[in-house]
Symmetry: C2
Subunit: 321 residues, 2 copies
């Protein structure tokens, strides 16, 4: 019997690294997870990764042929195959593709997690077959992967697609990147919380969230309060959706996609966020684009999306794209 | 003797249409100009165009072989070859490529003027050989053509690249497009004049421009005043450069180009506009992009640039790109 072609898909996060064996249809056949431990050198990561891989494949891998590896990681550079000084991993510059190619002797590709997510959506998700779309991940920050003409927009150095860091409010909120008024300081889980805190300071309507210390307030709490009718929490969502819509309209003016895919915790707030963001986007859009861009929420399970993105990166390459 | 391959390059403007015979090296071998007259139907335009073409080629064209036609026009759609309801031409929808193919029996392509300008810069100008750059035309409005991965970014419908209509000041100035706060209401010749008028209203410093009726004030007057040391005119340039820098930083965050080419009258204001815009762009840029993007002013003569852009569109295609 001939072996089944599979790829190894890896998602390196600040806290955990997950890996899966994925077939051409996007079925995750097996997987493992391990702590990334970014405080230790990359060699330590590699050693532990190979141990996990050996355990995984020892018994059950005889039916499969590994034909490629795809990975997503913060600050990963598609062009040179390196992970370059990610803020939350003390690895410096890691020649990831080189190391994994040497160990596994198959084609290896890496990109940042947002780009991988977009490719996952294109191969296995709601953007299947789409040539012009933007995937926006609304998490702690705002990540984006942009597909134009069927290809991920990498730019000259592999660093393109930073929708979270376009300035939507000149002299606005301080961003972790050092600038002010970046989209992700408003349109993200932390942005929503910051807006809630701002409203609590500006307005004196009652709100249960006045009992929560700022450091402990979460987007989930704002969501629950809004669902219960808390007027300030509802207003926080309105403002977040409005600014998200403005940011999406900017991306639309430049790329003219026919689809925007929203992913991440906040994207589940259909009525409170997605619907008003769609309206705001159409309001802020340049005329010819109004009401022509679809917004859909990703249907990939959050636990699988990162692995499927990394898998798509390498399957896409193996298919000659 | 074998004939020399040439293309016909056409630039359709709101007022005038210019056309030229251009060789592979970008030499304009001959040209003509005629009024567009957008109040009459397209058939009238076509008839007059063919008359001009006949006069041009009657005597001197025996050495040349016409192998293609490229055109730039407002609201031109690269994908379907149509000019679609341009605001300043009462033509409705014109199947331009179809009409010209029928008349000339050679490959015909059309795109909007901003995209053509970018291609002209890539083939014949300061962006020669560049794969990731943005051309920004600072005229009455702000036009942009974006090249990513060596290709013009057209988007799903051919309408991408509208940097002039990203919103940089929420609830800001009314734009001709119906929105508020679009980049071109600040960073353009008319934007500069509007900023000057705003400063004249806000500040009470003396200025020669207080003698000029708003309807007659031009960007040239603001430039001349600034050069003579008028403090408000200088401030108008500072504000314009700052907002232009913010807009460019937005484009950089999304496309990560290694070059921005500025074109048009305002781009000649090196010290007053280009230098401070570069500084502002680097200030507003997301960290990884700071000081990595070159800004150059186009060196193509303004009288030739549109023709060369249209020529580049078709030469690029004939070369298999």
């Amino acid at each position: 019997m001939s072996k089944k072609d599979v790829v190894l898909a890896i998602d390196i996060g600040g806290t955990n690294t997950v890996a899966g064996v994925v077939d051409r249809e996007g079925t995750i056949l097996s997987r493992f997870s391990m702590p990334t431990i970014g405080t230790r050198p990359f060699d330590d990561f590699m050693k532990r990764f190979l141990n996990h891989w050996e355990s995984l494949t020892k018994d059950s891998f005889s039916d499969f042929a590994l034909i490629g590896i795809g990975a997503g990681a913060p600050n990963a550079n598609f062009y040179n195959g390196r992970i370059e000084n990610p803020p939350n991993l003390k690895w410096g510059v890691v020649p990831f593709v080189e190391e994994f190619t040497r160990q596994f002797q198959v084609p290896v590709l890496i990109t940042n997690d947002a780009n991988a997510a977009a490719l996952g959506e294109k191969l296995f998700g709601v953007a299947k077959g789409r040539e012009h779309f933007i995937e926006v991940t609304l998490g702690t920050g705002l990540g984006s992967g942009i597909v134009s003409n069927g290809q991920v927009v990498y730019g000259h150095d592999g660093a393109a697609g930073e929708l979270g860091h376009i300035i939507v409010r000149p002299n606005g909120r301080v961003c972790g990147c050092g600038n002010r008024g970046c989209l992700e300081t408003y349109a993200s889980a932390t942005g929503l919380v910051r807006t809630m805190l701002e409203l609590l300071s500006e307005d004196n309507q009652p709100s249960d969230l006045r009992e929560v210390p700022p450091s402990q307030m979460t987007s989930r709490m704002v969501y629950d309060a809004a669902k219960k009718g808390d007027p300030l929490a509802r207003q926080a969502f309105e403002i977040t959706a409005d600014i998200l819509g403005q940011g999406l309209a900017t991306a639309v003016a430049l790329f003219s996609p026919d689809l925007i895919v929203l992913f991440g915790g906040l994207a589940k707030a259909a009525d409170l966020l997605v619907k008003p963001a769609r309206e705001a986007m159409n309001q802020y859009c340049f005329g010819p684009f109004k009401n022509k861009v679809d917004i859909q929420v990703s249907t990939l399970p959050e636990s699988d999306a990162a692995i499927l993105g990394s898998a798509a990166l390498i399957w896409n390459h193996l298919a000659g794209n």
